[in-house]
């Protein structure tokens, strides 16, 4: 490989989109810390076993060997390292963390995807209350509102719903039915359904793979079964809460999909825009998060923004015309003050006015010449 090539799946970032990404990073961290979240930064590389709780196992991770022979990976996830910190440092919950960092997930070669993406998010550890989910949802919705994203759909689901329904059915073929449901393989699902004896849930089951969409419509389709109704109580409360507090959000529910990771235990949520190709943010409750590091469970809720998706979805603003400021050696303070108050301005470091003029011309920039005012 030539030293002039990038490895497949990587890219350099600069230009307007990178500037937006930097501004977004700053905005998000400001909002998180204003709410009392504390910054945490974990290493880019960790022992592979830290990510054992992920599904599928990190075969899509960059791996290499430490000199002792242990396998290291570039982190494919930011939440599990925080679980490791909580489980090994004796920090007493409740705690609230915020982070920004890159995760590395190897995509298919030459498929147009990037293997390094930036996430910015929070973890609330130690609160069993639904208030923890609500703080996350309000934060995410508030940031979208501040960015004037008025067409965001918030999709809610519950990690325990599918198993609650399956527990009401005869034990045969449950695993196959669940797989067909999660894969939305309607052909296999319908065949499996035909083999089930008729029961009170038959009509509901026929429509189950389509059990997503506007919140009120989905909730109206649920069967009267007391266990099933009880399992969506938190979802109903959350919807009422969001309707009252975030009237701009489109609210949808999905009760037919797989959780993003097996450690999720409760509410799961995603945000997306109508034309976007990726979710803007994702999160939920994962009380099993610490289980791969310790015996005791610890309630945890978190979410993160995909900063690359977020930066890509924001409207492109035409950049301000650049300005160059030419100055003499004894005008540094004056030049820096002028640069600070002029949009898209920078100091021209040329040694002569002629060179500065040439540079301004080639950049299409306005040249502000301070040297004329210089004290002789």
């Amino acid at each position: 490989m030539s030293k002039r090539n990038l490895p497949v799946g990587t890219r350099d970032e600069f230009g307007p989109e990178t500037e937006r990404k930097a501004q977004l990073t700053q905005l998000l961290q400001e909002r998180f810390t204003q709410q009392g979240f504390h910054p945490i930064k974990t290493p880019v590389m960790e022992y592979r076993a830290v990510f054992d709780a992920m599904a599928p196992t990190p075969e899509n991770a960059y791996q290499f060997l430490e000199e002792t022979g242990e396998t290291l990976v570039l982190r494919p996830d930011l939440t599990l390292p925080i679980a490791r910190v909580m489980s090994t440092t004796g920090i007493t919950p409740p705690t609230k963390w915020c982070y920004t960092g890159d995760v590395f997930r190897i995509k298919k070669r030459h498929s147009g995807g990037y293997n390094q993406i930036t996430q910015s998010g929070v973890e609330i550890i130690g609160y069993q209350s639904l208030k923890a989910e609500w703080e996350c949802l309000l934060l995410a919705a508030g940031i979208c509102a501040e960015l004037q994203l008025t067409d965001v759909t918030l999709e809610l689901s519950d990690a325990s719903f599918v198993d609650t329904v399956l527990a009401q059915l005869p034990a045969t073929n449950q695993a196959a039915l669940k797989q067909a449901l999660f894969n939305k393989d309607l052909t296999a699902y319908d065949q499996l359904l035909k083999r089930l004896p008729k029961g009170p849930l038959t009509d509901f089951l026929a429509d189950w793979p389509w059990l997503f969409g506007p919140a009120d419509q989905v909730l109206a389709k649920l069967p009267a079964d007391a266990t099933i109704q009880a399992s969506v109580a938190d979802l109903r409360k959350t919807i009422s809460f969001l309707q009252a507090n975030c009237p701009d959000l489109q609210l949808t529910i999905d009760l037919s999909s797989q959780s993003p990771q097996p450690y999720y235990t409760g509410l799961v949520f995603h945000g997306y825009r109508p034309e976007a190709n990726d979710y803007l943010f994702s999160g939920g409750r994962y009380d099993r998060l610490l289980s791969s590091f310790q015996q005791t469970r610890q309630p945890a809720v978190g979410f993160s923004f995909d900063l690359d998706a977020l930066a890509a979805t924001l409207p492109q603003k035409a950049p301000e015309k650049p300005t160059l400021i030419y100055f003499t050696d004894n005008q540094w303070a004056q030049a820096q003050a002028l640069a600070a108050k002029t949009p898209n301005a920078s100091l021209c470091l040329a040694d002569s006015l002629a060179a500065a003029t040439r540079q301004a011309q080639s950049l299409g920039a306005t040249l502000l010449d301070l040297s004329q005012e210089a004290p002789q």
Partner: protein, 208 residues
């Protein structure tokens, strides 16, 4: 909202057009396409014609909402999107085939030629065997005839190509047919349009 459909060109396209027509799509422009590859006259459906593996590339990047593609390609490419419907067209099957003197019980490691290394590996893994796979891009039947491989794993529709080359079937692997695949996020964004298309297609499949 407009549904963006990537259709595998060639045989899949011809076999599936009647079904799409029955489901309410206007397919005349595709039938009389000339050299066109992109059809966006219908405000309801925009269609492109692409090679099978590329259908998945477009779908995975979110450039298209729906892909119509053979399950051979879905299996081989380990498709991560929703494989929602078996359209029951383009039906054929994977087989293990070779010359008459091939011994499936031979005690040395077999050499298998195929266009589908992942599917081949999956099959031999299920029967607990490890084989050497040689990737061939086309006319896989040649490989056992010229001694490159002990046997082949390939798709057969009627079996006539095998017979013409004096090859016979030693094992039946999975069936193949054309499937409808949906981008995960597009399913959420365009739920009612996609659901309507799928229900129309389900109806059309039953009537066939």
């Amino acid at each position: 909202m407009t549904l963006k459909i990537a259709l595998t060109k060639g045989r899949t396209e011809k076999q599936v057009l009647p079904l799409l027509e029955q489901a309410g799509m206007t397919v005349a422009p595709i039938r009389n396409k000339g050299r066109r590859l992109i059809f966006n006259d219908d405000p309801q459906y925009h269609t492109i014609l692409a090679k099978g593996p590329d259908v998945l590339t477009y779908l995975n990047r979110g450039a298209m909402d729906i892909g119509i593609v053979g399950s051979d390609i879905l299996d081989e490419q380990r498709n991560p999107q929703y494989d929602m419907l078996d359209l029951k067209t383009g039906q054929c099957r994977f087989v293990l085939a070779s010359t008459a003197d091939f011994d499936p019980g031979q005690t040395r490691r077999k050499i298998i030629a195929t266009k589908y290394p992942n599917i081949t590996q999956d099959y031999f893994a299920t029967i607990g065997e490890d084989v050497e796979i040689i990737k061939i891009e086309g006319s896989v039947e040649l490989a056992p005839l010229v001694g490159l491989a002990d046997a082949i794993v390939d798709i057969v529709e009627t079996g006539s190509t095998l017979r013409e080359n004096n090859l016979q079937v030693f094992a039946e692997l999975q069936p193949v047919s054309t499937h409808l695949v949906v981008n995960r996020l597009a399913l959420k964004q365009k739920q009612s349009e996609i659901q309507a298309l799928i229900q129309n297609l389900q109806q059309a499949i039953q009537e066939d």
